[in-house]
């Protein structure tokens, strides 16, 4: 019996498979896809979304014999919703927009001030997007121009930006790339407001969009990673400068490696921060919370041009102390500007209180930003400089 039935089942399966084969609903050949690596969003004057996409031209990137065609193209459309704008893009582009490789979303300044949550919904909801891309704000230029700048050295502009953000984060610490799911979590979280990377264009826009931009050894137009923008909820409220951004990253423990420059006697000292760990705590006195930040950093003396005797232990101690003071200053400035000017808690102090004392948090949850302004923050920085490189003493003209 088995054989007959088995054969029959096999037959039915084959028939059905044949029937099913008539549709290949989801398949897209690789050469039918426009691989979008960066998207820019802004508002137009008549309150529609402006969408700019940067689409790569694979054959130009993977080729052995480069032509004069640009490695990426941009398309822009408008629409009442972003999805509409995405779909309208097919009017202009020969291919379907493929979004899984998205590296970067650039939000226009105006839109950022208005609120970014709404447009981001699509980026999180749609299955095509993966969640590993950075969200940035174009600080001065409009997004369309910004995304049209060709970058030297790295053929895909979006890749250049992504790598730059990561490089700044890892080597200097004055910026911080934020991915979409971090951003959404923080916007929705009442105890912490997000910061967002700013992008800045240097040089004239006209030359940047031309392929000749990358033919110069010193490209006239460049895009640089700027410091952090501060969001209150989902609205951009201001920008921190370099010191404040650094201070912010120190509080978050996001410093992998950084540089502290401070004056020492008759010169300056450059300290390379190697690693550190941070500890945030909250204590309650009379039901009033106060935050303490503890930083333990380890570093090297990387550059020094003041006449000190580095073989003396107390000189190192002194340098330690100066570095500590410098870092404390950075953090204090950062907290001060947020408490006084932007009135938004980007440091996650509220979240900390929520974690440590959920009952108290319930009482302040809804006007946390007000409370935050009054919050006392104690900063304790401990720096230990361990090594001084290959030279034992400052290298000076006289020996």
């Amino acid at each position: 019996m088995n054989v007959v039935i088995k054969r029959g089942y096999f037959l039915i399966t084959v028939l059905l498979c044949g029937a099913l084969l008539s549709g290949c609903w989801d398949s897209d050949e690789l050469d039918e896809l426009g691989i979008v690596v960066a998207a820019g969003i802004d508002k137009t004057e008549d309150d529609e979304y402006l969408l700019v996409t940067q689409v790569i031209n694979p054959s130009e990137i993977a080729t052995e014999a480069p032509t004069t065609r640009p490695p990426a193209s941009t398309y822009s459309t408008t629409g009442k919703t972003l999805l509409e704008a995405f779909r309208k893009m097919t009017h202009k582009s020969p291919r379907k927009m493929y979004l899984s490789q998205l590296r970067l979303v650039v939000i226009g300044k105006d839109l950022a001030e208005e609120g970014i949550m709404q447009p981001l919904d699509l980026f999180y909801r749609d299955h095509e997007f993966r969640t590993g891309f950075y969200v940035t704000i174009s600080k001065e230029t409009d997004v369309e121009t910004l995304l049209s700048i060709l970058t030297p050295y790295e053929k895909i502009p979006a890749n250049k930006l992504m790598h730059s953000i990561e490089a700044v984060e890892e080597n200097h610490g004055s910026s911080h790339g934020i991915t979409i799911d971090e951003l959404i979590t923080q916007i929705r979280n009442k105890g912490q407001n997000p910061v967002i990377t700013g992008l800045l264009m240097e040089g004239p826009a006209e030359s940047g969009t031309n392929i000749s931009n990358v033919e110069n050894i010193d490209a006239p137009t460049k895009i640089t990673i700027d410091h952090l923008g501060v969001l209150k909820g989902d609205q951009l409220v201001g920008w921190m400068n370099e010191d404040e951004s650094l201070g912010y990253n120190y509080t978050q423990g996001d410093i992998n490696s950084s540089v502290v420059t401070h004056p020492c006697s008759e010169g300056t000292a450059g300290i390379e921060i190697l690693r550190g760990d941070n500890n945030m705590g909250v204590t309650f006195e009379n039901d009033e919370p106060s935050i303490s930040i503890e930083l333990n950093l380890e570093g090297n003396i990387a550059e020094i041009d003041c006449p000190v005797d580095l073989s003396q232990a107390d000189v190192i101690q002194q340098l330690n102390q100066q570095t500590e003071e410098e870092i404390t200053r950075l953090i204090e400035e950062s907290i001060a500007i947020n408490q006084n000017e932007f009135e938004t808690d980007i440091f996650g102090f509220g979240d900390l209180i929520h974690r440590k004392n959920p009952k108290y948090w319930k009482t302040v949850e809804n006007n946390w930003d007000e409370q935050f302004k009054e919050l006392v923050v104690e900063i304790q920085v401990k720096v230990e400089l361990r090594r001084k490189g290959s030279a034992t003493q400052p290298i000076t003209k006289e020996s």
């Binding site: 039935i5 059905l16 099913l20 609903w25 299955h127 979590t185 929705r188 929520h354 440590k356």
Partner: protein
């Protein structure tokens, strides 16, 4: 019925896969909505409840004495009352099957192949399930043994690859809103895999070695429960309770974070495969049980002729079962628990009591007989 039997080890694997399958997709999100960062506590509570349930099921299985639940019910309550009860039991299993089928269809069409019509996704999946149910329990048990190492391997990969993404602060504050939401959330998990374990009352008679099979069942539930807990824990640890609640299938979303050496990205589809494997076994067990249940209900010799017709019904039901995802969400969070409780606890209790009474009557009869014989 076909004289197939599976070893306790295979039975344990089937229990694990059944417990994990489909719950892994649908459980973390509603848990996180209700219990927030304490979701893992409520899932641990429900694992305990699941273990207690399993102990109870083992008692029922002991009373059934090598009969399936269907046969035992007919034996205990007679042809008519027994069949009346069984209509509910079998329809519960059938609906469960349709919902599980819809789960995998929904998951596939939201995350992986969005343009493929739901029906075809279901038909293809169910064809393989029917093939499995056709080949029988023995083959299902063996293939569970084949796939189990892979499931374990990929789960370990999942956990180790995500260790660097873990943020322990996401779990704090512990019990921020007290115990109430934690307990009320745990009903979701009790309802979704653990009360459904009642289905194994259809399978136990086919397990060899009655001594170890109880232990196998309990260990299976425990391991499955631990896997579920780990997955939920990792969703919260990596995504945070907020995003876990926000996502339709957080366990899949969390896999998107896997990034090994900047090269192995996009492993979420691989993880999706593991979810698919577990769901396959869950559905195959359900389908097999439904078909032998119906066959025994109708006192047929072989369940195989029923496989294809029942499949047509299950596909239709899985399509019409809910018009949209929101309907499903409310159904799962509001109606499913009492529904599963009725069939997963109350019905077995009734049958258990019935079997005990029946057993006593039989024993009396036998005593009388032996007395009259001896006298």
């Amino acid at each position: 019925m076909d004289n197939q039997s599976i070893s306790p080890r295979q039975f344990m694997f089937l229990v694990i896969l059944f417990t994990v399958g489909s719950s892994i997709l649908i459980v973390p999100s509603p848990l996180a909505i209700q219990a927030k960062q304490d979701a893992w506590i409520s899932i641990s509570i429900s694992v305990l409840a699941g273990l207690l349930l399993t102990l109870f099921y083992n008692q029922v299985a002991k009373q059934m004495q090598n009969k399936t639940f269907v046969q035992a019910t007919i034996y205990a309550f007679g042809n008519w009352v027994g069949r009346f009860l069984l209509v509910f039991y079998l329809s519960f299993l059938f609906i469960l099957g349709a919902l599980v089928l819809r789960n995998i269809g929904d998951f596939m069409t939201t995350e992986i192949i969005p343009q493929t019509p739901l029906q075809y996704t279901h038909i293809l999946f169910l064809l393989v399930v029917i093939w499995g149910a056709f080949l029988g329990l023995e083959v299902l048990g063996r293939s569970a043994e084949m796939f189990m190492p892979w499931v374990v391997l990929f789960l370990l990969l999942f956990i180790f690859a995500l260790l660097s993404e873990v943020n322990i602060e996401n779990l704090q504050p512990y019990l921020g809103d007290g115990f109430t939401p934690v307990f009320s959330a745990s009903t979701v998990v009790i309802g979704t895999p653990f009360l459904e374990l009642v289905i194994f009352l259809m399978i136990t008679p086919y397990v060899k070695d009655p001594k170890t099979k109880q232990r196998a069942w309990i260990i299976g539930v425990l391991v499955g429960g631990i896997i579920l807990t780990m997955i939920t824990l990792f969703c919260i640890l990596v995504l945070g309770s907020d995003l876990t609640a926000l996502n339709a299938s957080p366990s899949y979303q969390v896999a998107q974070r896997i990034n090994i050496a900047d090269f192995l990205e996009g492993l979420e589809v691989v993880i999706g495969i593991i979810w698919m494997l577990t769901i396959f076994f869950k559905l195959a067990i359900i389908y097999y049980s439904v078909s032998i249940g119906v066959a025994q209900f109708l006192t047929m010799d072989d369940h195989r002729p029923l496989l294809l017709p029942l499949g047509m019904g299950m596909i239709v039901l899985s399509i019409i079962a809910y018009p949209d995802v929101a309907y499903f969400e409310t159904f799962v969070s509001e109606t499913w628990f009492p529904y599963a409780l009725t069939h997963g606890l109350i019905l077995p209790v009734i049958v258990w009591v019935g079997l005990m009474i029946r057993g006593m009557i039989e024993r009396k009869k036998n005593n009388k007989k032996s007395n009259s014989q001896s006298s």
